[in-house]
Structure formats: C-alpha cells, structure tokens
Symmetry: C2
Subunit: 356 residues, 2 copies
C-alpha cells in the first residue's frame, strides 16, 4: 500500500509539473490582425501571409496570428482605430490612409518627388525615420513598422497624351490623397472612385486618367486595354505599407516572441519589395506582349516642374502650421539630399553609363 | 513519516521532470561560424553580428553562434572547405572567392554589366537563382544563401584620367578576379596586393589604380587623399556576400531553429544592403567635404563598349566549356533582360525624369 501511494504521488507530481512546463514554455499566444485589403489580395496580402508563416514556424507554433481581411471586419480604413482600441492586436495597412485622423501619419508611406525605396529604408534605419514614426504613433498606444514596398508607382494610365500644362486643366483623374492635392493646384480635378468601378469609369470617359499601382497590380485591372499612355511615376516613388501593433499587447509578449514578430515583419517588408519588383517585371512583359502599342511616357518638363513647385508649396504650408510636420519634412529633405548624391553615382550612374 | 516520504518523492519527481523538460525544449545548440573578414570589419562583419543577435534573441538563447574572424582561423579563403568538412558549421564569405575550387560559384556574387541588387534579389527568389545556387553547392554538403549586398561597387581610384582605350594599355591596377580578366583582355595589367599595402602601392606609383568597394569601406582606406579620379562602377553592380552552412548540420537542428536561422540570415542580408547604402552616402559626404576636388567620372563610351565585349567573350567561353555554367549564364541574362525594362521605367526613370 505504501508502494502504491508512492506511485500515485509520483504520477500526480509528473502530471502537475508537466502541465506547468507546458504552460511556461509552450503557451500559445493568439493574435488577431486586421488588413486593409480584400482576401487573397496579391502582393500586399502576400506580405501578411509571409509574416504570419515565419512567425508561426520560428516560434514552433507558439505565435498564431489570425488574419481578417477587409471583407470580414468591414473597415478597410479603420485599422488604425481597431488596433488602437485593442479590438485587433495588429494591422497591415498604409500610414497615409490616416492623415485625416492624425495628420503626421502622412509622411511614413512615400512622398511625391521623395526618396526611392532603398533611400527610404536607409532613412528609416539610419536617418531617424523610425524614431519619428514612433513619436507620431506612440500617443495612440501604437507601434508602426515598414510593411512592404511597391517600388516606384507609375504615374497612371491616360487616354490622351499630356503635352503641356494646359492638358492638365479640368483633367478628371482618379488620384487620391496628397498627390491629388498637388494636381488640383494645377487645375486638374482629382476624383476618388471605388476600385471595382474604375475600369468602367475610364472606358466611358467618366474620368480621363487614373493611377493605381504599377504593373504588379495593374495587370489584373486591365487598364492597359483602354488607355494607351502609361506615365512614369512622380507621386509615389516608394510606397511603403505598414505593420501596426497595439503597444500594450506587444509589450505583454515574452521577449523571444517580440523579437520573432519584429524580425518577421521587417523581413516581410523587404520580401514584398522584391516580390513587387519581380512581379512588375513579369506583368509588364505580359502587358506589352499583348498590347505592344502601350506608350510609356514621362510628363513634359514644364509639367514636372509645376508639380514639384506645387508640392513644395503644400509642404511649406504644412511645415508652417505644425512643428512636428516641420521636423519630419526637414528630416526627409535633408536625408534625400545626402543619399541621392550616392544613388546618382551608384545605382543610377551604373545603369546610365552601361546603357548600350 | 509518511508525509515526509510524500514530500521527498514529490521533490524527486519535480527535479526529474524539470530536467527532462529543460533538455527537450531548452537545449542549447552551439554553432561555430568562420568569417572571411578580420575582427570588427565594418559592414560585412556587422551583417554577421546582426544575424547572430537575431538568432539568439528569437530562439530565447537556444541558438548560440560563436564567430571566428580570419585572424583566428587564419584562412580567409578557406571558409568553403572548413564548412564542408564540418570544422565549422557555418561561414560568411563571398561565393566568387571559390571559383578556383568550384568554378560555378563565380556567378552568385555579382557579374560585370549584370544585375543591380534589387534585380538580383528578384532573380534569386523569382528567377531561379537560389535553385541554381543550391545545385552548385549541394554536391559539397553545403547550402548557401545571400549574405548582404554592398550595392554598386565603384570602378576604382585612378591617379590619371582614362580618356580612351590606349590609357588602359599597361595600366597596373589592383582588380582581382573576373573583372581583372576583362581588363587584361584590353591590355591592362591586373595585380593583386594585400589590403594593408594598397595605400602605399598607390602612393608610390607601384600601381596606377585600384578598386576596393565604395565609400562605405573606401573612406577608412584613405585612397581619396592620393588619387583624384573616382570612376563609377561596371564590374560589380551588386556584390552579394553569402552565408554558407554545412547541410548535415542544418538538417540536424529542430525545425523552429532552422526557420530562425534562415530568416535571420536572409534579413541580415537585406539589412546589410541598407547599411551599405546609408554608410556610402554618409562617407561620400565626408570624403567630398574634406577633398572637394575628387572627380567622379564615367569611363568613356569606347572603353565601356570594349569592356562589355571582352566580358561577353569570356562568358561565351565559359558557357561553351561547361553545361552548368551555360545554364546559369543564360538564366541571368534572360532575367536581366526581363527585369531591366522595369528598372528603366521605375527606379531609373523616376530619378532621371525628376532631376532638376
């Protein structure tokens, strides 16, 4: 009997201790992520899937992230608020979507005539960009990180060629946000139209032009079939999406899982830039083989100069009325000045000098 | 007494079970990494430190990687062999260092007149590059991954200007490897000189020119003080270092640690490209503020055309004599053709069209 008592005690102890250990080392942390995109959205959505997969594999299943697309949570542009309130733990969106709510979120996606993706990554990591982003998001109990770059976005699809500034007057163009403000200053009429209605609007001349992303996402929209002029980009040279996390939630995770999450987000952001690059090249080849008459154009110099001037004016107004905006704009402009000299003699200079 | 017996049993059981659990979930895996660089080598060595730190943090200390610099293992160019034999588990080096041993390792660092860093990352991930690299390294029980990009390397420091092809005749230049072969075809004399003797050799006209990396690493070498002409790059547009692992060792790690190691290496490679970019910009500003007379030059068109022709000839010879080389060269050339069209209308086109 004494022996049997020993055994029972031993079994009980083993069970107890094992379960304690399971709790400590193998506890599963479940996070909910809201993305601004529809389900299976190419490239953008792939960045989220990539991050979730890495986090789960590296944590040996201790970090499980459920992704809700905009079709589920019904609030594509409410990601900021839902993560702030804790309704979701994380989000995948774009910082500039929230400029109506927190004006200085504008600066952490891309700026017209601003940095390219590599220049901007350098600014985030070595030019004080991440720290400024932290400063803007901290009052909202949020931490935001780069979430994937599209590379240079194209200037858009135009049904008619733009030969001078006059051709912009009364031009109805789908071009939302800051770039729309710039074009409005030059007499154009920026309009916003839901993505699903864009093709028809362009086809029926409800609008004269539109910008979307670039070949990586434009191919499936089909604009190349109805608008022969594809203008090179000026307004979004390095659109960087963002991962956003509820800070309290992030801080509550064990240190190793915090590290895993941060590395997974960061790597997913780079990976998306590579994917955008590859898929732009592939889709562009497909578009031009099907429609060899697409004409790639740069805007005339007088148009670009006027856009740049309008852009500088708007930035000056913003800097004059908001100290933090002034600080961010100065940081970006100073860094661009420093880094572009290098781009000119490296990536740009190499391609230019080795052209046949 | 019975109560005391209970307690002792309980304690013994707890101790036993705890130690079993420590062994299973918290076993520490210690890896040894040999790098081709000296201790605290800027940028290149930082990439290794960055990877090691991420791996340790994400694994909660279960993955500990000891790094031996070349000063310790005394075999900067023996990393391939030491990892193959298992003397080291991992290495950080450059693939093209081993072309004397395994000729087709040449193609996985950078190629003259080849892809830029983003184009090459796209090729590695979406153009079959990683698979080809796997094929070359597998027979040696090795797996190799991208290990950090320098961006475009500068064409080098020249004491005299290069105005035509004749100026290359008998030019003594430190330029090792494949690019040296190209220049030799044009009548130059490529020489190899240990890094520590380069400055003096250039100063005393033992050599007429040399290439090193770019501002990120050239600044501390001081060449800008004695050679006024800094030529833009043609020969290494996207030098990608590599992490290399003993395959048997990698396969023996638990799945989560394998995932952690792969993600850490991959992210460290991107991070190094960003660091190279930032530090090139900063160091270039420092050099030119101290020596405002440095002249940045492109080689004359006739020189670039002749270099390109010599390069194509050497590649044709390699392709003709080795089936695998032919396959890799074709893959790179096809991908470059596909992706450069996109670079031209995105990153390159944007910078060109928005220049003031």
């Amino acid at each position: 009997m004494l022996k049997s008592l020993y055994k029972k005690t031993l079994v009980a102890a083993v069970v107890m201790v094992t379960s304690v250990n399971v709790f400590a080392a193998d506890k599963v942390y479940r996070l909910k992520l809201a993305e601004s995109w529809g389900p299976n959205f190419p490239v953008f959505g792939d960045s989220v899937k990539n991050m979730v997969k890495m986090a789960e594999e590296m944590s040996n299943g201790r970090l499980k992230i459920r992704v809700d697309s905009a079709n589920k949570h019904k609030s594509a542009f409410g990601v900021f608020d839902m993560v702030k309130s804790g309704q979701y733990d994380m989000g995948h969106s774009a910082s500039y979507y929230y400029k109506g709510k927190v004006p200085n979120t504008l600066y952490f996606t891309t700026m017209p005539f601003g940095m390219t993706a590599m220049e901007q990554y350098a600014w985030f990591q070595y030019g004080g960009g991440q720290e400024l982003m932290d400063e803007v998001y901290a009052p909202h109990n949020l931490v935001a990180f780069p979430g994937g770059n599209t590379g240079v976005q194209m200037g858009g699809w135009f049904r008619k060629e733009i030969n001078n500034l006059d051709d912009l007057k009364n031009l109805k163009m789908r071009i939302p946000g800051f770039a729309g403000e710039v074009l409005a200053k030059l007499g154009a009429t920026p309009v916003n139209i839901p993505p699903g209605e864009l093709y028809t609007a362009l086809e029926r001349n409800t609008i004269d032009a539109l910008e979307w992303v670039g070949p990586s996402l434009d191919l499936r929209m089909g604009f190349h079939k109805i608008a022969p002029f594809y203008y090179m980009g000026w307004h979004e040279p390095a659109t960087e999406l963002m991962f956003i996390i509820n800070k309290k939630k992030l801080d509550s995770l064990p240190a190793d899982l915090q590290a895993i999450l941060k590395v997974a987000m960061h790597k997913a952001s780079y990976d998306m830039y590579v994917q955008s690059y590859a898929s732009s090249a592939e889709n562009w080849a497909e578009m031009t083989s099907e429609f060899p008459d697409i004409k790639v154009k740069t805007f005339p110099a007088e148009v670009l100069t006027a856009m740049k001037k309008a852009n500088d004016e708007i930035l000056s107004e913003k800097a004059a009325s908001d100290e933090m905006a002034a600080k961010i704009i100065k940081s970006q402009q100073d860094y661009l000045k420093l880094v572009r000299v290098w781009t000119d003699i490296s990536e740009f200079g190499y391609i230019q000098s080795t052209k046949e």
